[in-house]
């Protein structure tokens, strides 16, 4: 089986997680991560990053912006229809 170094393993991570790596590379990367504590730790933090950023940037629609949207759409859709 092909040997993989940490640096090349990192470059393959996204394709690995998306399941688009060729089978031999997929197996080689899995074998490397299984035997490399550094890569196992790296993969854990790499996988957690989207969730942390997603949760941190989650938000609700403020009531004043929702009200402005409603008023805007009422006015503009009416104007749009009256052109027809």
């Amino acid at each position: 089986m092909k040997d993989i170094a940490c640096i090349s393993g990192v470059e393959l991570l996204m394709d690995y997680l998306e399941g688009v790596l060729p089978a031999d590379l997929h197996a080689a990367l899995e074998a490397h991560v299984a035997g490399c504590a550094r890569c196992a730790a790296f993969v854990e933090s790499y996988r957690a990053t989207p969730r942390i950023m997603r949760d941190a940037t989650a938000m609700t629609l403020p009531a004043d912006i929702e009200a402005s949207l409603r008023a805007f759409l009422r006015e503009r859709t009416r104007a749009f229809r009256s052109r027809d």
């Binding site: 170094a5 940490c6 640096i7 090349s8 990192v10 470059e11 991570l13 996204m14 394709d15 998306e18 688009v20 504590a37 550094r38 890569c39 196992a40 730790a41 790296f42 854990e44 933090s45 790499y46 996988r47 957690a48 990053t49 989207p50 942390i52 950023m53 997603r54 949760d55 941190a56 940037t57 989650a58 938000m59 609700t60 629609l61 912006i65 929702e66 402005s68 949207l69 409603r70 805007f72 759409l73 503009r76 859709t77 749009f80 229809r81």
Partner: protein
């Protein structure tokens, strides 16, 4: 009951002039579109993008053929509106985030220890929630645009890679490469935030 009516049925009714159907569609997607707009532009610009998106949706409802899901179609319109809006703004020079990329020794082995490499996974437990929210918004805005767009759509909005590729007009491999670069930078940034060199 409008609240249980499928999007596509509401879209057909709205296209035929049913205002309550259009209002229901707006209600369903307004928060998601606003959140996308904040992530692709800024809190200041997001309200304009929100308005522009639903105006475009309204105008183009008659041409919606149901070839994609209604939500995907709305997201595509919102993405285009956000990108157009951002292009019209002078871009502030972004600070390079390359400093947060992982480091390797001469043999291609991670330079950091396992504990140091893992720490970013716990950033949300170690940092104040409000501080993390502010820092996350700031650093996403600092990503190079190509990486930001792919990361926001794929990882934050959780669109499929194929849908992101279609929305951005690139192939899926390019999306994966851009998302990967963004993840590497942001992972390192989170590590740095909790005081550990990536």
């Amino acid at each position: 009951m409008l609240s249980t009516t499928p999007d596509e049925t509401l879209a057909a009714r709205a296209a035929a002039g049913d205002d309550s159907a259009f209002e229901e569609l707006v209600r369903r997607y307004q928060t998601r579109v606003f959140r996308l707009a904040c992530r692709l532009t800024s809190d200041t610009d997001a309200p304009d993008v929100l308005q522009e998106t639903f105006l475009q949706v309204y105008r183009h409802l008659p041409s919606f053929r149901g070839e994609s899901q209604f939500g995907t179609w709305v997201y595509r319109i919102a993405t285009n509106a956000a990108l157009m809006h951002r292009r019209a703004r002078a871009r502030r020079p972004a600070e390079s985030l390359d400093v947060f990329l992982p480091r390797f020794d001469a043999n291609g082995k991670h330079a950091a220890t396992p504990a140091e490499l893992q720490v970013a996974a716990c950033a949300d437990e170690r940092l104040d929630r409000q501080l993390l929210a502010e820092k996350a918004r700031d650093v996403i805005a600092q990503l190079p645009d190509l990486y930001r767009d792919a990361f926001v759509l794929r990882d934050l909005e959780e669109m499929t890679t194929a849908d992101v590729a279609e929305a951005l007009g690139v192939d899926p491999a390019t999306v994966r490469q851009r998302v990967h670069r963004a993840r590497l930078m942001l992972r390192g940034y989170l590590s740095d935030l909790v005081g550990v060199k990536p």
